[in-house]
């Protein structure tokens, strides 16, 4: 039996969920199809904009895009519940003047410091020029030396061995990706119900008769089909690549030579020192900060001794990507050595403890865009750029909704 619907969204992560919310609010019937057993297994979202140093993403435009109040305003319309803000000024106060939902997803204002060797003139020149641009754009920033750097870098033991300099800006942000995901997932799942929010699928096929798929869940095992009236939106993440290239042949949806995949490593270390949660540190290609959820001043269950270290390990051309390359590089000797350098040269720890590790692969598209495919009676769109920092995801979703509604 074929079911009818207006919109079919295929993909994982926040983008399909936010899109579904948008379509539902305009009275459209939506079905979400997810091939993975676990909806967020691909882990496509970041909890901050990494400003990937490897990609030379550290520009004044990007810094301006990541001002905490602005990010909060971008996120709020797309989340069905409360989004709390945790500013630097009130991080030390546990009791707020107004009601504060501790369990809501937070956007946290944090400072951000980039640390470099004093002798590195190229870096010095770069940051000095950035400092001037920040001043021109009324972003508070400072150039720091030696002991001033110590004061700021999260996890620093207070002993200076290397001659370091730093550049700090006072208004950056990170956000609770997990809470966003959970909240949106629960909301959309409740809205759509199990018949319209389907995970653990295989064999999704597009044809002129609609979309056919095989459900592997115990309750609904078997083939089903859908006929979307208004279109199919496919959110292109690495795991869907093979399916897209196979199903949507001869379309505009292709991988170009300028499209890349970036492998990120996310390490969690145990800090000997209680961490300053008000700042995000950057050293070479490492992004270092304390792992917290919610409001930093809310002490219950807060572990102020976990240091999160993120590192872009490799960037490969998407058309040349293979999983074996990834295996060779993930948690390789370069990673261990880089972490060791951080701990030894910057933080001045004689040893470091690994608490956990995971990796994620995301696309770095040359151009984030929506491409259409007109072969079927219903339009099929592939959306590039639906992963990464939440504001980037929201931008893609906004384009989808503006185009469709």
């Amino acid at each position: 039996m074929q079911h009818k619907t207006d919109i079919v969204l295929i993909g994982t992560g926040l983008a399909p969920l936010i899109s579904a919310m948008g379509f539902l609010s305009h009275g459209k019937q939506v079905v979400i199809l997810n091939p993975e057993k676990d909806y967020f297994s691909e882990n496509s979202e970041f909890s901050l904009d990494p400003l990937n140093p490897v990609d030379s993403e550290l520009t004044i435009e990007k810094i301006l895009e990541n001002k905490s109040a602005d990010v909060l305003n971008k996120i709020k319309p797309f989340f069905p519940g409360i989004v709390e803000y945790s500013g630097l000024q009130n991080t030390k106060n546990k009791e707020m003047e107004n009601f504060h939902d501790e369990m809501a997803p937070h956007v946290r204002e944090r400072a951000r410091i980039w640390v470099y060797q004093k002798q590195d003139l190229k870096q010095k020149e770069f940051f000095e020029s950035l400092y001037i641009k920040c001043l021109d754009n009324q972003i508070k920033s400072q150039m720091l030396d030696s002991y001033q750097v110590l004061k700021f870098f999260p996890g620093h033991s207070g002993i200076l061995t290397e001659d370091l300099s730093g550049f700090v800006i006072d208004d950056f942000c990170d956000y609770d990706v997990k809470r966003f995901r959970q909240g949106l997932y629960d909301f959309i799942q409740e809205k759509l119900g199990p018949d319209r929010f389907i995970n653990d699928l295989s064999g999704i096929e597009l044809s002129s008769k609609g979309i056919k798929y095989y459900s592997r869940t115990a309750e609904k095992r078997g083939w089903s089909s859908l006929m979307p009236n208004d279109g199919v939106y496919v959110f292109w993440t690495p795991k869907l690549t093979q399916w897209i290239l196979k199903e949507i042949k001869n379309s505009n949806s292709k991988i170009t030579k300028d499209d890349h995949l970036v492998l990120w490593e996310n390490w969690s270390l145990v800090s000997r020192e209680r961490l300053d949660h008000s700042i995000i540190g950057c050293f070479e290609d490492l992004i270092v900060r304390s792992e917290i959820d919610g409001h930093p001043g809310y002490d219950a269950h807060q572990n102020h001794y976990r240091l999160s270290v993120n590192r872009p390990v490799m960037k490969v051309k998407a058309e040349e990507y293979s999983s074996t390359d990834l295996d060779k590089r993930v948690a390789s000797i370069e990673s261990f050595e880089q972490i060791s350098r951080l701990c030894k040269n910057v933080l001045n720890w004689e040893k470091f403890s690994i608490r956990s590790f995971d990796s994620q692969v995301v696309f770095k598209w040359h151009k984030n865009q929506i491409e259409s495919y007109e072969k079927y009676p219903f339009p099929v769109f592939t959306i590039k750029g639906c992963e990464g920092p939440i504001p980037t995801v929201l931008k893609s979703v906004k384009q989808v909704l503006e185009m469709s509604l």
Binding site: K37, D38, Y39, F40, S41, K178, R181, Q182, Y185, D186, Q189, E190, P194, N199, T217, E219, V270, H301, S323, L326, D327, V330, A331, S332, I333, F336, E337, S340, R341, C343, K344, N345, E350, K351, F352, S353, I354, R355, S356, F357, D358, S359
Partner: protein
């Protein structure tokens, strides 16, 4: 600055998980042998000097293992298939107050029994009714503990059956143990050494006063081995074998056969492409079928269970006939002379009696239809070797002088009390009901060498088929004897240490964790008593330096302070909530709440909402109870393996 890191590639890796005893295990040996025989490159890592830190899943199949050697070099090894040998650690579903220092797992109890002088009196409660639980209970009873309770949950168990063999249940009953089919309600401290365990059955709530509760399990049916995610070629196999096979023949058998089955599965998956492997393929197929059949055999006793049928205290006529017609029981010779009776009616996977018999009078049938022991009564010379060999005490010898008033039984002697010739004893049936009185007889001459392990009793002939155990008749003078002859508890090997600013005596050279148990000061953090310090919970300050109690040896004059407890641990002590994750302070309710409004959450989604197992212990203390809670929430995740990296705290010293 350099970190020594070496790369390697294997077809199959067999890795020791945390808290594995005696590496390589039976299972590890089986898998490596099978895979190496067909030409696969196998690596076996674990044991002293080699520490496996964790595994990263591959995108496709297989993974990368990280191993640290004693020189602190890191080995990064890729493999197409990885097998983790996991330690057994069965914890029940949480109940009120359960996270306390009183409840310890089986592995800790075993270690304390073997290596410590912990006092278990007056009573012990054992959670579980499998063979391990019943044997442990029997051990305590044989060693003078007055009350031992084996507690089995009422639900999920059909007909209130124990999950162990009938012979083990019989031994436990005869020794005076009690099996309770109840649900656990709460645990609270009564005195410094006594805990109150509240249990409930259809008659209401009752309180058991115990010194300790040992969680043995099993609490749910487990598959032979796990693969998670499905198709990932990442497996987990439980270590069920002990160092000595005869300590736990069932566990040894299970691990060995499961490993064979897993090994053949891996070989088939990896070598599917090879064209020149027909000979190996056939061999592997035979091994696989043989392992499957033997595993099925090992579970046969569940389907062909034997419940001793009683009419009051006596066997029913049908029951008696069933026992008398059993193949391990003599049909006629016992009326003329002493002969062995191998009364293990259920088809169990044990052949220790067969191995011990010099005359080959006992031969275990491998016929699937008749798995019972087979006794050639004519060949049996009543040498007595099979009685001590049977760990369950299922074998005895007897001479049924039906026409005389009394007959003779020879039983395995396991109790502490030394029975004297001529002493009167209470006679017990298979259920430990009192049948009457009997007299201790001198052993026949040819059995004199077994005077400490066998005992001969005179029983009324009409009770020959009913009596299977004895108990000392208590007299009013017994308690006085205890007072007069009590041994001094002063141990010459004790040294003085300072514990929390107080002088204490502890045995020199044992681990501090064990010393805490002996002093009665063990903490919740000491529960696992790891052999390798993997849980990382039991830290103490020794002479100003932070160390793990389970890895630090007692020495004279050491100054020990407990680390100040986290808020969460303090909260756990004050509140009787059903705590699941001690490190992160997560209760059963927290986990249940995350399923409200969401159905069919995957395990990864669940973990992102409640970070169970992300604390200091890396899930070693909470993983099993987490599974129980998930099961109770209707989220059956029995196939889940926690592959979160690393497996335990990993400290790296950069060069």
């Amino acid at each position: 600055m350099n970190l020594y890191l070496r790369e390697g590639q294997f077809d199959v890796l067999v890795l020791s998980g945390p808290r594995i005893t005696s590496w390589p295990t039976v299972g590890a040996n089986q898998i490596s042998r099978l895979c190496a025989d067909v030409g696969l490159k196998v690596g076996v890592f674990g044991g002293a000097g080699v520490s496996v830190r964790g595994v990263l899943k591959d995108e496709a199949a297989g993974g990368i293992a990280f191993i640290e050697d004693s020189q602190k070099r890191v080995h990064r090894l890729e493999a197409k298939a990885i097998v983790k040998i996991s330690s057994q650690n069965h914890f029940p579903a949480p109940f009120s107050g359960w996270r306390s220092s009183a409840l310890i797992p089986y592995s800790t109890a075993k270690k304390l029994i073997e290596e410590s002088q912990v006092n278990w009196s007056p009573s012990v409660a054992i959670l579980g009714s499998g063979n391990k639980a019943l044997r442990l209970g029997s051990y305590f009873l044989e060693n003078g503990i007055e009350n031992v309770y084996c507690i089995e949950k009422t639900k999920n168990r059909i007909d209130q059956r124990t999950t162990g063999w009938e012979v083990e249940k019989r031994r436990f009953n005869i020794l005076g143990g009690k099996i309770l089919f109840v649900s656990l309600k709460g645990l609270s401290k009564k005195t410094s050494t006594i805990w109150e365990l509240r249990v409930e059955d259809e008659l209401g709530v009752r309180v058991l006063e115990v010194s300790r509760i040992i969680s043995v399990g099993p609490f749910y049916d487990r598959p032979d081995f796990l693969e998670y995610p499905v198709g990932s070629m990442l497996f987990s196999l439980e270590q069920t074998a002990s160092v000595n096979p005869s300590d736990d023949i069932e566990g040894y058998y299970l691990e060995s056969e499961r490993a064979r089955m897993l090994g053949t599965r891996i070989i088939k998956s990896i070598t599917v492409q090879a064209q020149d492997n027909q000979v190996n393929k056939a061999k592997v197929e035979i091994e696989s079928k043989s392992a499957k059949s033997r595993l099925k055999q090992s579970a046969a006793f569940e389907e062909q269970s034997f419940q001793v049928p009683f009419e009051g205290k006596w066997l029913t006529p049908q029951g008696k006939k069933q026992i008398q017609s059993f193949a391990g029981v003599p049909q006629s010779v016992h009326q003329n002379r002493l002969v062995a009776f191998a009364e293990c009616i259920e088809p169990i996977v044990c052949n220790l009696c067969e191995q011990s018999c010099p005359e080959r009078a006992i031969q275990i049938q491998r016929n699937p239809k008749n798995q019972s022991s087979f006794l050639k009564e004519v060949d049996c010379t009543a040498c007595g070797k099979c009685l001590p060999a049977c760990p369950s005490g299922a074998i005895h010898m007897g001479h049924d002088r039906g026409d005389h008033l009394n007959s003779t039984l020879i039983l395995k002697q396991t109790q502490q009390h030394k029975f004297e010739e001529g002493e009167f004893v209470s006679l017990l049936n298979r259920r430990s009901d009192l049948m009457g009185k009997g007299r201790i007889l001198p052993l026949p001459q040819h059995l004199k060498e077994y005077q400490f392990s066998l005992i001969a009793i005179e029983v009324p002939s009409h009770l020959f088929w009913d009596v299977r155990g004895i108990r000392k008749i208590k007299s009013k003078y017994d308690e006085m004897d205890d007072l007069i002859f009590s041994e001094s508890s002063q141990n010459k090997n004790q040294v003085a240490i300072i514990l929390e600013n107080e002088k204490r005596l502890a045995r020199d050279g044992i681990s501090l964790g064990m010393a805490f148990f002996e002093m009665g000061h063990n903490r919740l953090e000491d529960s696992l008593l790891c052999s390798d310090g993997s849980c990382g919970l039991c830290d103490v300050e020794v002479d100003g330096v932070r160390q793990l109690a389970c890895q630090t040896k007692v020495r004279a004059g050491m100054n020990v302070k407990w680390m100040s407890q986290s808020d969460i641990l303090n909260k756990i002590k004050e509140s009787p909530d059903r705590w699941v994750c001690v490190c992160q302070g997560i209760t059963q309710q927290d986990i249940a709440d995350c399923f409200k409004g969401s159905s069919n959450l995957s395990i990864e989604s669940t973990l992102s909402r409640v970070p169970v197992g992300q604390g200091r212990c890396h899930g070693q203390l909470c993983e099993e109870s987490f599974r129980e809670v998930l099961s109770e929430c209707g989220q059956l995740k029995q196939d889940w393996i926690d592959w979160r990296f690393p497996w335990r705290d990993w400290v790296i010293y950069p060069k």
